[in-house]
């Protein structure tokens, strides 16, 4: 009977250890994911969103703004964010004199 109880206690202890490890792994994975997401959000390249948005705001062409949806760092977005094609409203540098259409 004692042997049976010892086996049972050993199994319960092993299960508790397994659960503790599972919990630790779950917490670590959650924390790592959140930290990674935060770090990525701050470090992802491309200020194009702001540039394109401000360009769209300054153009005010009356369109719905759906034609130039090139987010991220795609080539088109880079083009839009360059000063020659899209002088931003708040830059005030006076360099946008290349005659952007």
């Amino acid at each position: 009977m004692d042997k049976h109880n010892q086996d049972l206690a050993g199994s319960v202890a092993a299960r508790d250890r397994g659960l503790a490890r599972l919990r630790a792994a779950a917490v670590s994975a959650t924390a790592a994911s959140m930290i990674a997401a935060g770090a990525l959000a701050f470090s992802l390249p491309g200020g194009t969103h702001a540039a394109v948005t401000s360009t769209r705001a300054t153009q005010s062409s009356g369109s719905s703004g759906q034609t130039s949806k090139t987010p991220g760092t795609s080539g088109a977005a880079k083009k839009l964010s360059t000063p020659t094609s899209a002088p931003t409203a708040s830059s005030g540098t006076g360099q946008a004199t290349s005659g952007g259409s």
Binding site: G18, S33, A36, A37, A41, L44
Partner: protein, 201 residues
Amino acid sequence: MLSPSTAFWYASRATGVVAIVLLTAVVVLGIVVSRQGRLPGLPRFAGLGLHRYLSLLAVGFVAVHVLTAIADSYVSISLAAAVIPFVSAYKPFWLGLGAVSIDLIAAIIVTSLLRHRIGRRSWRAVHWLAYLSWPVALAHGIGASTDLRGGPLLGLTITCALAVLGAAGWRLASAIRALPRARLVPGLMAAPDDLLRAGHR
């Protein structure tokens, strides 16, 4: 740069990248646990539990990825486009792949939650969709944004692809190795009958 007006956009991109990594971990863990039964340092139930937990965590990140993309005012992505493939006005093909992946993941999660009701056979059949869902999700990530196509995240993309390919290859190899043993099973199953008959004689 991250600012209040661009927060949703950056959050969507960042959570999308993390979701791909988590989905990769889920697929690899699922393969390892199903073939080997347990992970080093973890009992079998904990390996399965971790697989399930990471699945739900990945779904959470996918949900945030979708909701922030919808909430962002820069591109107009409707809620319907997030779940109905190829109806989005913005990059219909690549966002359509994302919708396909979400639908497949939803099917896998729902059938896993209802596993005891639908039976192991049906659950397993639907669970095989994970092998389709993961590459579709990766293709969506590569096609819809340039983040995973270059820079340091290209290395992450390649690592994820190699991890899943390696795990799938290992599974395939071990299944092929197990084939001759599977052929022996009918013979082994018949053996006790033969022994019984011999005993009766």
